[in-house]
């Protein structure tokens, strides 16, 4: 039987506020355990929450970026459960009245088409601490540094139809969040986390199949693998005549499989009720307008502008706007170099390859936009050829002098002096009598070989167009 996959994602994003959602403690990643937990974070008796308004602003910013309804009156609720890294014994979240309501975002599919994915809601809540099971021999250590860090939980509609679509959605979400600068959104560090609700149904069936929720997926790659694995597992179950059980499953990246969590852990009644220690958040139009005014240009708009302003292909534009940093880098390079197409090629190919090779973030690159722009200018003004430019680019990695100095020092400057080029051409003509004869007999394509010889002889420094011209005139 043919099955259709139905996926909805719940994505937790740590908002990058300096302090926690309800306390003044810092939120820096990686600090010594329990150095960022104050008396409220420890849930000492008598302590009370005070809402961090910056988190609200970030949530609203996200809502506006995905065209969502903003809750004019959002309400925090207590979600009750016991766990050692949840000091109050309840998590403050938003149930019925989230700050961000229905919205949507657009993803690009492999065939070049676009698809709109609905976002059901995005609500604010506090993160839990961490339980540390290693190093404590039969005991558990509790680190409350993360407890109370603001999270935005973004819930999608069940609009995704494949693991690839899920990854595209997640990447788009990541891109928007980075553009808005509301989270580091680093999956490996847990500042962006993803749970996937997965079900399958026979093609043509309207009702959804029974879904399972996969937790603990911490990279884009694992999202795809975990979903594919789960879809296959569900197919196997159905084809063996079994039934899918609604349950929570953990993804184990080492074994590339999902497995059921003990039912005890999932059969929780959270007994939500409105948090009496906090007032509802009331948001008016003026506030929304003020936040709207701070919105940066978002990836879709920016890509469209790259196509119209710089004449880039839609594909190139799409690649370049994937991250705000990359798009900024490209735009700076394009403006300073005066050649957007060359800039686009260099950024999306050479620079991207470099980053991939070293697993660098753009900010780690020793070649910043200004230097790359100079390099491109030197191609344009014929100081170097495109090929030599690649050599210069390599040299720029561990040589932080400016581009011109490197070209000069390494003697890579293109030879454009006609006297020098003529003697070079004479030498090649003298060394290759057979090819010269062939050319004179009418086999004009041999000119390519002769130009190549000139370039080789000049170690790539000769200006190929000039060489071509001189060759032709000498051979005619």
């Amino acid at each position: 039987m043919q099955y259709e996959t139905v996926i909805g994602l719940e994505v937790h994003v740590q908002l990058s506020t300096e302090s926690k959602l309800f306390s003044g403690s810092a939120t820096t990643f990686g600090a010594e355990p329990n150095t960022q937990a104050n008396i409220f974070d420890l849930a000492l008796p008598g302590t009370l929450p005070v809402l961090n308004e910056k988190a609200v602003a970030m949530a609203v910013k996200f809502g506006l970026a995905i065209g969502a309804e903003i809750g004019k009156r959002s309400v925090f609720d207590r979600k009750n459960y016991f766990y050692p890294d949840l000091p109050k014994g309840y998590q403050v979240s938003q149930l019925d009245f989230p700050t961000v309501g229905k919205g949507s975002l657009t993803i690009s599919l492999d065939d070049g088409s676009e698809k709109i994915i609905g976002v059901t809601r995005a609500h604010m809540e506090e993160d839990a601490g961490k339980s540390l099971h290693e190093d404590y021999q039969g005991m558990t250590g509790i680190d409350l540094n993360r407890a109370g860090t603001p999270l935005l939980e973004i819930v999608s509609e069940p609009d995704l139809r494949s693991a690839k679509e899920a990854v595209a959605y997640l990447k788009k979400l990541h891109s928007i969040i980075r553009y808005l600068d509301i989270s580091d959104a680093i999956m490996a560090q847990g500042s962006m986390r993803c749970d996937a609700n997965v079900s399958i149904r026979p093609v043509g069936q309207k009702e959804f199949g029974t879904r399972t929720e996969i937790k603990n997926i911490n990279s884009f790659k694992f999202v795809e693998k975990a979903i594919n694995h789960e879809v296959q597992r569900q197919k196997d179950v159905l084809e063996d005549g079994g039934r899918i059980v609604q349950e929570t499953r953990l993804y184990d990246a080492d074994r590339d499989e999902t497995r059921s969590m003990r039912s005890k852990e999932v059969a929780n009644d959270y007994r939500y009720f409105p948090e009496p220690d906090l007032l509802p958040i009331v948001i008016d139009d003026a506030y929304i307008d003020a936040i709207r005014a701070t919105l940066p240009e978002l990836p879709d708009t920016r890509a469209a502008r790259f196509v119209s302003d710089y004449g880039l292909s839609e594909y190139d534009a799409g690649v370049l706007v994937a991250t705000r940093e990359m798009a900024d880098y490209f735009e700076t390079t394009a403006k300073l170099s005066g050649d957007a197409k060359l800039a686009a090629n260099w950024v999306s190919q050479d620079l991207q390859a470099l980053l991939n090779k070293h697993s660098w973030e753009l900010s780690d690159s020793p070649i910043q936009a200004e230097r790359l722009a100079t390099l491109i200018q030197r191609i344009k003004d014929n100081t170097i050829s495109g090929k030599i430019a690649k050599t210069v680019f390599e040299a720029m990695l561990d040589d932080n002098r400016d581009v011109d100095e490197i070209i000069e020092a390494k003697g890579l400057k293109q030879v454009t002096d006609s006297g020098a080029l003529e003697s070079l051409v004479d030498q090649v003509i003298a060394n290759n009598p057979d090819q010269v004869q062939q050319y004179r007999d009418g086999k004009v394509q041999v000119i390519g070989f002769l130009v190549g010889q000139c370039m080789q002889l000049s170690k790539g420094k000769a200006n190929p167009a000039q060489v071509n011209e001189i060759l032709r005139s000498k051979l005619s």
Partner: protein
């Protein structure tokens, strides 16, 4: 000197007739003499109190005129006090020494008050008799075989027996007003949001409110001046224009409109209390007030709604007491679940466990609408009842309790005990300010008259109570402590 009011002590200290050291010494002696019988204090801070007293005398010599400078106070043991054990009347916090001060404590300290110690209370403020305290019941100074009321029973007993000049309490369903009535003193529950809850160990967050227990309405005004005010650390505290609550104490009551809710003068009310309260109202009429009967139609629903909402909030508020970070932890837990279960089973008392169970049940899937949501609807109805009533009257008056202080161990079951709060609970649901002032004696025991005003109209309450105390002397009556002590010996 120890029997004097805060206003009188303040004047005596200013006039140099006494010193804070002498006063503090005198109260500590009174505590030493009577706390064993009364059990009003869980913790007495004799050394730090004397040090604070010396500092207060030095500050006065240096020119300080802080409003409570050098006057000894006792705090209910659910206000966090830095460096001092804070138990909330529970075994589960038997070893909890707070690293910080509650805002109320901080403000009173900044006003110069000297902290004598921490007073006994029903465990986590859940109770109307002080019998649920892990630290033993506090006793009523008027009769040691009677309860002092609760949950602020220790504070009320301490003020009544002159173990302190003034005390703090909290009121979630009557926990300031009822013990004030039982012990013959003056107690004020301010409007919800008037006083910061930061550092006050929560029972039911949407109902809890701190207030003073003291000897007169004037003292209550002086204390409220210090305790009130918005606090950045409590999002539910309210920013209101600064007010001097003593400024209007002497306003005339001519034309004051008093409402007597007919629901508060019906079956279940001790007839002797009814006549005492009616006599008290007659005194106010003599001062120019007009009296009419009013209707609070949803009064009988208030207790049911309260016993859903308060336990629901409490069930979450008390989740933090899990044996993980502080407080009581059971011996040798075999695993996490065992630690949770035994720490909480052994650390909490019966009444607290009962309310956690009720609250957990009321919030459970499938019951939420029937209990919690319905209770919130009733809460709105109760609020609307009062709003309607206050269109026609300025103050609502009735008995604070249906009967005088009852005997220890006399309440057969929890529900009978819950009904003791029948007149006080609705105010907490509505968030309104209320007071209890002494209004007579029944069977030799003091009884209280409850006054209620609109939101944030504490000044009106204090004005009426103060005027009443100018023409009556119920608040000046003192229990005979040695006589009570003999009763128990016999």
């Amino acid at each position: 000197m120890i029997e004097k009011t805060v206003a009188e002590l303040s004047a005596a200290l200013a006039a140099g007739e006494t010193t804070s050291v002498a006063l503090t010494q005198a109260y500590l002696e009174q505590i030493a003499a009577h706390n064993e019988a009364l059990n009003a204090f869980i913790t007495v801070c004799a050394d730090s109190a004397m040090a604070q007293a010396r500092a207060a005398d030095e500050a006065r010599a240096a020119g300080s005129t802080a409003p409570l400078l050098g006057i000894p106070i006792a705090h209910k043991d659910l206000f966090c006090t830095a460096g001092v054990k804070t138990t909330s009347g529970s075994k589960i916090l038997h070893n909890f020494i707070s690293p910080y001060d509650a805002t109320v404590v901080e403000r009173l300290q900044a006003a110069g008050a000297v902290m004598l110690g921490k007073t006994n209370m029903d465990e986590f403020a859940m109770g109307s008799s002080n019998e649920s305290s892990y630290y033993g019941v506090a006793r009523n100074p008027w009769s040691l075989d009677r309860v002092p009321g609760g949950s602020s029973g220790g504070s009320a007993a301490a003020v009544a027996a002159d173990l302190c000049a003034m005390a703090t309490g909290t009121d979630t369903g009557g926990s300031i007003r009822q013990p004030a009535a039982f012990c013959g003193i003056t107690g004020l529950k301010p409007s919800y949001g008037r006083v910061s809850r930061w550092g006050m160990i929560a029972y039911a967050s949407s109902l809890d409110q701190a207030g003073p227990l003291c000897k007169t309405a004037e003292d209550a005004a002086i204390l409220l001046n210090v305790m009130a005010g918005v606090d950045d650390k409590d999002s539910t505290s309210i920013s209101l224009p600064a007010e001097d609550f003593t400024a209007t104490l002497n306003d005339s009551l001519k034309g004051l409109r008093i409402g007597l809710p007919k629901q508060h003068f019906t079956r279940g009310l001790n007839p002797a209390i009814e006549s005492a309260v009616r006599l008290a109202v007659a005194e106010l009429e003599k001062l120019g007030a007009e009296v009419k009967e009013i209707d609070l139609p949803n009064s009988d629903l208030a207790i049911s709604a309260y016993y859903v909402i308060a336990p629901a909030e409490a069930s979450a508020n008390l989740s933090r007491f899990d044996g993980v970070r502080y407080g009581y932890r059971c011996e040798n837990p075999v695993d996490l679940e065992d630690m949770y279960k035994r720490s909480r089973s052994e650390g909490f008392g019966e009444e607290v466990k009962r309310r956690i169970m009720i609250g957990t049940y009321a919030l459970s899937a499938g019951f939420y609408d029937a209990y919690y949501r319905k209770a919130q609807k009733i809460r709105r109805l109760v609020k609307e009842d009062y709003a309607r009533a206050f269109e026609d009257v300025d103050v609502i008056i009735g008995p604070t309790t249906p009967s005088p202080a009852f005997a220890l161990n006399s309440m057969k079951d929890s529900v009978t005990m819950y009904l003791e709060d029948i007149y006080t609970i609705a105010l907490n649901l509505a968030g309104l300010p209320g007071m209890s002032v002494p209004a007579g004696f029944v069977e030799g025991l003091p009884i209280g008259m409850q006054l209620v005003a609109k939101d944030y109209a504490e000044a009106k309450l204090l004005n009426v109570a103060h005027q009443f105390q100018q023409v009556t002397d119920w608040h000046k009556q003192k229990p005979s402590l040695t006589a009570s002590a003999k009763t128990t010996e016999a």
